[in-house]
Subunit: 260 residues, 2 copies
């Protein structure tokens, strides 16, 4: 086993060295697109694009750049996405939860988003070019109404830890309450998200609002009820910005789509 | 030339496929550290660590994980760091600047951080294991007092565009005013950052304050003077959070250190 690990490490170092060498030989030629140059080394470009999307430097993007289809596909399917989730959740959120001074009055709370936080839509986005096609509200609604999204495995473990620790878990999602409440509740149940305090979806009064406005309002209501929001986890910055964001926020990766 | 480009693209795709394959073969064995497993595939781990640091999921970190020394070194020196800066600045900040409805009353403003935003400290961090060694305030002060930091090339172009566009540029930094003002002003001048409106450093009254508090106070003063802050660029989240953050904020990458 040790030998296999050693070989893998050597292999990874060799790959890294090659990537670095290629990047160096390319970077001296780099011309920004606005000067009329073209990127034809899509791997490095897509790394840059994905970082800028994850840090919220690129906003309001409607599709993944077409040259990044393979990059995003590889990222989502070949392991790095799950490693990224695992590091955030197991190495940073778990220790944070252990550090919370719980009061046992029933008002210690935590917020989780649903899509691509608790439930994965990778199966759906596989058929939509991993976000290279524009968002299709009807198509997504049909998918969600089937209640067949698999759990994001690391988030399910986070959810169970939160419930076991005694935090009240609120699931807050921009999904339409009227048409998707039952399917969403069923989907959460069939994926074993069991024991949450409340499932809060977008009611008719919140239709057309951006995520920041809608989710801030819902969090405000929880704070007015007396809840202390210790943590807030989502794959979109609009889950984590605005008012009453929580004591700590955690951005999970999602290079497939942007929700304003 | 086209042939060379084609070969490079094929090479990069091959490397990507190999990285993906390696990641897949590893991910099935993945054990989070908290269960007693060890990461020994540092490339994938360091990609995850760097993403989580850049999205502000990991906070208050004092050093780069020692297993990520080579990763951060390669990232900073072999091209990807500069590509990441170039994409953010030339593809996203430049078009945003062009879209600002300037009023020509002299109150359209922009904020830039200094360290690893305008001026690069890579030369210094090369001697400090790219952040694997803890921050050394005296050592950094000696380095900064020499006034020998090179410009971050993409930011110098951004700076010149801002000045030419007619925006008032405020340079706001946590550097100590009393001991580093003249060296910083000289360094900016020798790197051709010429034409800014004001250089704002940390005065005695702000000593010991975190970046969010200190920088929020300085931005508040600017807003009270009548300035409209259209943009705010920094390599630390503490540059970009708090009050009066600006109409748009842009996080530049920096995996070498964390400023609270």
């Amino acid at each position: 086993m040790k030998v296999i690990r050693g070989v893998v490490v050597i292999f990874m170092v060799a790959v890294l060295a090659e990537v670095g060498e290629a990047a160096r030989s390319l970077s001296s030629n780099w011309k920004p697109r606005l000067e009329g140059g073209n990127y034809d080394y899509s791997y490095s470009y897509c790394l840059s694009w994905r970082l800028a999307a994850e840090t919220n430097d690129i906003r309001g993007w409607r599709t993944v750049p077409s040259e990044c289809l393979r990059h995003v596909q590889s990222y989502m399917l070949l392991g790095q996405y799950n490693l990224d989730l695992n590091l955030i959740i197991f190495e940073h959120i778990f220790p944070y939860i252990n550090s919370i001074p719980l009061s046992n009055d029933g008002y210690d709370a935590w917020i989780l988003d649903i899509d691509d936080t608790c439930l994965s839509n990778i199966v759906y986005y596989k058929l939509r070019q991993f976000g290279c096609e524009p968002y299709d509200p009807q198509g997504f609604k049909m998918w969600a109404s089937r209640g067949g999204c698999p759990a994001v495995p690391a988030t399910l473990r986070l959810f169970n830890k939160l419930v076991e620790t005694g935090l009240k878990v609120f699931l807050v999602s921009g999904r339409d309450e009227e048409t998707l409440y039952q399917a969403t509740a069923d989907n959460l149940h069939n994926q074993e998200f069991i024991g949450y305090e409340r499932l809060i979806l977008r009611s008719a009064a919140n239709r057309g609002q951006g995520g920041v406005v809608f989710k801030s309002e819902k969090r405000k209501q929880l704070v007015e009820e007396g809840y202390r929001i210790w943590g807030n986890v989502g794959d979109q910055w609009s889950d984590l910005q605005g008012d009453f964001t929580g004591n700590r926020t955690f951005k999970l990766p999602n290079p497939m789509y942007f929700v304003p």
